[in-house]
Assembly symmetry: none
Homo-oligomer: 222 residues x 2
DNA sequence: ATGACTAACGGGATATTTGCCCGATGTCCA
DNA sequence: TGGACATCGGGCAAATATCCCGTTAGTCAT
């Protein structure tokens, strides 16, 4: 390995970040950046052209996402070694990336040494995850959101829908012909079951669960 | 200007991005990076210590935001020249940054040449905006909701950001070093200014306004 | 049909938040 | 230097949230 350095293809849409990689990686004797790309299509092309040992890939890019690029590259070369370097700490991103065929997932907020380490790991076909992501993934793996949603009773679900339409207790009480107190109690129970402790969290969860139609929200905006 | 280079303080929580700046800026004969910082507090300290000519600042950082840092620095030195380099294309962010005292706002997706150009502009006390943001700001004059968003003061905007992260009053108070009561009051004022009457509506509005990253929310779901 | 279970409803009690007002202070600018 | 604003928070009544409780009614298996 000392006679032949690891050939890297860099994929990131931010020039400043590509610059950062280059600068950082140049200091590594066994690593050399042989090409870069600023989007998914270019990444795929350059993978075929340069046949790098390891691809370092950002997954948040305009147009086709990095995930798509990972799939394409893996389809072309089942042995491709891809390390995702992302700003997202969200373990769902990591999970998706791994599913798409990445071997590593390191967050941009990690110490650069972790990136270097990840490159070597991936080069040797070993999985490499940022500690923060690994931990989050582990915690999350015990199926959560959906299961929790299923804990709601039908009535609670109904009340939740109305709450999400930004109706207040009295309005909901009128609609359902129950006391505002019951609405308030249900609101509380819903939050407890869904393990959130504010309406803001509740709304975010609802959007993730697609209870609140994102399209509607987007189209509302101008 | 050729006999004395522009002294830069870099503020960004991502090491790789700081590396990118350094590498990029080192190629500029008239610019030298004399210090960096990874959060608001460190930025303030280092500003006082190093008295840089220009501060390059990311505004999305854990804990105290870049906006806070801008205010603090400007309070200490009314002549401070600050260039915000942000991933947010949303013109509201730019507006708030300018209000807080920044002289420039360049998006991270811009060509690096724009950053360099921005540095020179800001160094000469000239306003510098990314073309994309400038255009969006111009277009936005017609937006209904955005107009309302722009009614928020810098402080309110900052508190809104933290609220949207589902932080409670006490947490926000701790971060900003103010009383929970003030947070609560601001929360109320924000809702009144934005003409919503619940946190659920507030969150929906925030999503429409793209203050809350839609992509994150969508991708979070499985 | 009866006991066990659970959903739905809502009262009570207390803690916390909300909604709105106020004044104090600081800053910036004409 | 006076007025417009931003920031910070106290006060206080009304509303909600939180948690516990009991009642009613429907389901279901024995």
């Amino acid at each position: 390995m000392s006679d032949k350095s690891i050939q890297i293809l860099l994929v990131d849409d931010h020039a400043i970040v590509r610059e950062g990689y280059r600068s950082l990686l140049q200091k590594q004797p066994n690593i050399s950046v042989i090409a870069d790309a600023r989007d998914a299509a270019e990444a795929y092309q350059n993978y075929k052209t340069f046949q790098p040992d390891v691809v370092i890939m950002d997954i948040s890019m305009p147009g086709q996402s990095g995930l798509e690029a990972i799939s394409r590259i893996r389809q072309y070369d089942g042995q491709a070694r891809i390390l995702v370097f992302s700003m997202h700490q969200n373990p769902s991103f990591a999970l998706q990336a791994i599913r798409a065929g990445a071997l590593g997932y390191i967050t941009k907020s990690s110490d650069p040494a972790l990136l270097i380490h990840g490159i070597y790991q991936v080069y040797e076909n070993k999985l490499s995850l940022s500690p923060d992501v690994a931990q989050a993934l582990a915690l999350e793996k015990l199926g959560q959101d959906k299961a929790r949603l299923d804990d709601l009773t039908v009535r609670e679900f109904e009340i939740l829908r109305l709450l999400l339409e930004a109706k207040n207790n009295q309005q909901i009480a009128d609609i359902l012909n129950i006391s505002p107190k019951t609405v308030s109690n249900s609101h509380y129970i819903i939050k407890r079951k869904l393990e959130v402790n504010s309406d803001i969290e509740l709304t975010r969860l609802a959007i993730r669960m697609k209870l609140l139609n994102l399209r509607d929200l987007i189209d509302e905006a101008e």
